[in-house]
Symmetry: C2
Subunit: 277 residues, 2 copies
């Protein structure tokens, strides 16, 4: 069943203008930030937004600020037309798809050296810096960004916090919805909203899984059947650990080792496995 | 001539509620962020705000996030009642004085260690960290914050960018007015607003000086007559350098050395003197 066509907006001033005109009419706005290549996990975020607000904006933007030059920015999957079809399949559809071209292009060549700082003064770490876009302001959630995924992806959470701040300032939503699949990200966004006093309610939704237990994910959608089978070792071993913990196993080291062993045996390379309270 | 009494607001939710209700009535809002102990420089910012918007909010908040533990947070001058009298003396007065108690107190003891990071994981650098307030999100304008004043005050611009972000998110103004006396700060705020896509117009006003040429400043107001005389070497030598440059002196090193020499001779200790284009 196809619902209404979303309004497509690519310009940030037009986006803000739309939001302000809607708010002036007493409408509340929900934002679902995505990098596209949508799956059922995203669609559940949209349904949550529908419950919270009159209107829903879905942003589709692959953020170069959260990729280091050695990561998969250039091969990150995208399918805008497919995404729009999926958005139309959600009951109620969505009101706006915000699909900007480049949120770090400020339309001039002023690269921030105005008071005499040269390029060498800044750290070159994400695809934004290496792209020479002149952007130099970053939001850092200094403790939560360091550990877990932050260890192997040092620019990631800085880039996420910054692009979410930008999207909040452009869309000016009342509510924003994130998936708890990316649990550390979820905690970082919550902390950032508290610490920077954003007037925005942040909602987290549980992760969606395929029938075999694999988390729904844009990257997981591209796994070969063989790799997919191996990847199941992650959810299987985590569920096993959860069951063990619920039934009295309170040795974190043993829980952790069992997960590591199961993933290793399936041929996986592990960035980290940690038990956190 | 006394103008209207400003509405006094100390609670951030009440502040945002006021702004939203005014905006819903079609009013535009100007924000003048200050640390209090107001002087004519501040009052000129308010007059600029009056030109730009229907309503003006003046925030008075001494921001611990921009002081290192060795700086003058505890002795920074304040005089709220005197400030309110001065605000009433401005033609048109002001609409709101936002005077929060502690913008880093989030009303709980959650210090950000939720995913197992301990206090040691974070850098302890400003009075916010040493105060144990649990705040951990900072806005960094990574290149512009490093040089000039940033060299001798490493936490300063991080603290300024962060508190301005917080005030923007609480007050949600259409326009914000800053003095160009703090020129590096002015450039940093402009860059931050661009890079984080705030929907706020930032206005800079020229600095105000006393008749003898000394910049109007809360800290300068506390100089002894003797120190005040010495401090005049700063403006005098800068005016002299300006005059020399306008009359053909294009050797930056000579311009700089003349300023340094004049301030030294008056007994001043110099953090930096730089010529920037």
């Amino acid at each position: 069943m196809a619902n209404k066509d979303p309004l497509m907006i690519t310009d940030k001033d037009e986006m803000r203008k739309w939001s302000r005109s809607m708010r002036a009419q007493g409408k509340t706005i929900g934002l679902v930030p995505t990098m596209g290549y949508l799956h059922e996990g995203h669609l559940s975020l949209i349904q949550e937004s529908h419950k919270q607000t009159h209107l829903t904006v879905v942003s589709i933007y692959i953020n170069p600020g959260q990729f280091s030059p050695t990561e998969d920015l250039s091969t990150y999957p995208s399918d805008l037309l497919g995404d729009i079809q999926k958005l139309k399949s959600v009951p109620g559809g969505v009101d706006v798809v915000f699909n900007p071209k480049n949120l770090y292009d400020y339309g001039n060549n002023d690269n921030g050296c105005g008071v005499g700082l040269d390029q060498e003064g800044g750290k070159v770490v994400s695809c934004v810096e290496t792209g020479g876009m002149g952007h130099e302001t970053w939001v850092r959630v200094e403790r939560l960004e360091k550990d877990l995924c932050g260890k192997s992806r040092p620019v990631f959470f800085r880039g996420v916090a910054t692009i979410v701040t930008k999207l909040f300032n452009i869309v000016e939503p009342d509510v924003a919805v994130f998936g708890k699949k990316d649990y550390q990200q979820w905690r970082i966004i919550k902390r950032m909203v508290r610490d920077l006093d954003f007037g925005i309610k942040v909602i987290g939704t549980e992760l969606a899984r395929d029938d075999d237990g694999l988390a729904k994910s844009s990257r997981n959608a591209r796994l070969s059947p063989d790799d997919r089978q191996k990847a199941l070792s992650i959810s299987k071993s985590l569920f096993k650990a959860k069951f063990a913990a619920e039934n009295g196993q309170n040795d974190c080291q043993e829980l952790r080792n069992a997960v590591i062993q199961a993933i290793h045996e399936a041929g996986g390379k592990i960035d980290y496995a940690e038990v956190r309270l």
